[in-house]
């Protein structure tokens, strides 16, 4: 397992690298996982203590809990006959404190939008521009 969690800033830097890898290769995936961090390694007792007589113990913790964010690529092995090469699995993880959540996700959204460049762009814009150009052209001729 990957050892320590990165700080949020470091995580974003590494995430950008991960997406860059993906872009260069042109054939791979990036996995992003988020979940509640229910196991606290630093404090002695786990944060929400399981109460036997309350089956919904985890739905109302006393304090907001941090969130664990993981990112990884897919490992791949060299395969004869294809252009596949050995790729080591890269794993990143970071813990987001509840207070930083909104700020983190704003950055996260930006990083993902920048990274996921392979998705389909809107082709609507092109048409609009063309139309405007046409209209302008007509106007100029008239005027």
């Amino acid at each position: 397992m990957a050892g320590d969690h990165l700080s949020n800033d470091e995580f974003f830097a590494q995430l950008a690298n991960l997406f860059e890898h993906n872009r260069k290769k042109g054939h791979s995936s990036v996995y992003l996982v988020q979940k509640r961090l229910s196991f606290d390694s630093s404090a002695a007792p786990p944060t929400p203590t399981k109460v036997a007589d309350d089956p919904l113990w985890d739905t109302h913790p006393e304090n907001p809990l941090p969130i664990l964010i993981r990112a990884s690529n897919n490992k791949s092995d060299k395969r004869p006959g294809t252009d596949r090469e050995d790729i080591v699995k890269i794993k990143l993880s970071t813990v987001v404190q509840p207070d930083d959540l909104d700020a983190f996700y704003l950055r996260y959204a930006e990083a993902c939008r920048a990274g996921m460049s392979g998705l389909k762009k809107r082709d609507k814009k092109k048409g609009k521009k063309d139309k405007k150009k046409k209209k302008k052209g007509v106007g100029e001729i008239k005027g």
């Binding site: 054939h27 995936s29 996995y31 988020q34 969130i67 939008r113």
Partner: protein, 171 residues
């Protein structure tokens, strides 16, 4: 293991699942770029030929048709998966549109609030989805098809305003 047609539906169901099982549920997002296999390439070629032989539809004369996809182009998709190992629930949504990413990450953020056991935002869980995401992406409510969505369908969907209508923009 349902795939949802719209991201709002996915978001709503995921929020409910997270409310029920906040500790065990996790959300996996997978961005993947795949080179098409040889058979896929030939399929695409055939499709393009078939479309080229047909006369262009007259209904869409106002806007130029979307640029045809080259058969060798890689396919990129973004898939969201909410999974709870305890109950085995798995909710999925998949898109290929770059315009949706910002909004989807926004909803990931709001689901993150559920995970962190923070109080929900006021405008949560409603039609004000796009604004709440805090991103300037225009809303594309429905996913008519994964590939080659005509520009006009999107336009119509945008003008119709958000909501639950599913068949409006469809042809």
């Amino acid at each position: 293991m349902p795939y949802f047609k719209t991201s709002t539906e996915w978001y709503k169901q995921s929020a409910l699942l997270l409310k029920a099982r906040p500790t065990t549920t996790r959300i996996t997002s997978k961005y993947t770029v795949l080179k098409p296999s040889p058979s896929k390439i030939s399929k695409r070629r055939k499709y393009l030929e078939k479309r080229a032989s047909k006369p262009a539809s007259t209904t869409r004369s106002s806007s130029p048709p979307p640029a045809p996809q080259k058969p060798e182009d890689p396919t990129a998709t973004f898939k969201l998966k909410t999974y709870d190992p305890e109950s085995g629930t798995c909710l999925q949504y998949e898109t290929a549109k770059a315009a949706e990413v910002g909004r989807l990450i926004g909803s990931l953020g709001r689901l993150g609030r559920h995970m962190a056991a923070l109080p929900e935002l006021a405008e949560d869980l409603g039609a004000g989805d796009a604004q709440a995401a805090g991103v300037s992406t225009p809303r594309v409510e429905e996913d008519v098809k994964m590939s080659g969505v005509p520009a006009q369908v999107e336009q119509k969907a945008g003008a119709g305003g958000g909501g639950k209508k599913k068949k409006k923009g469809k042809k």
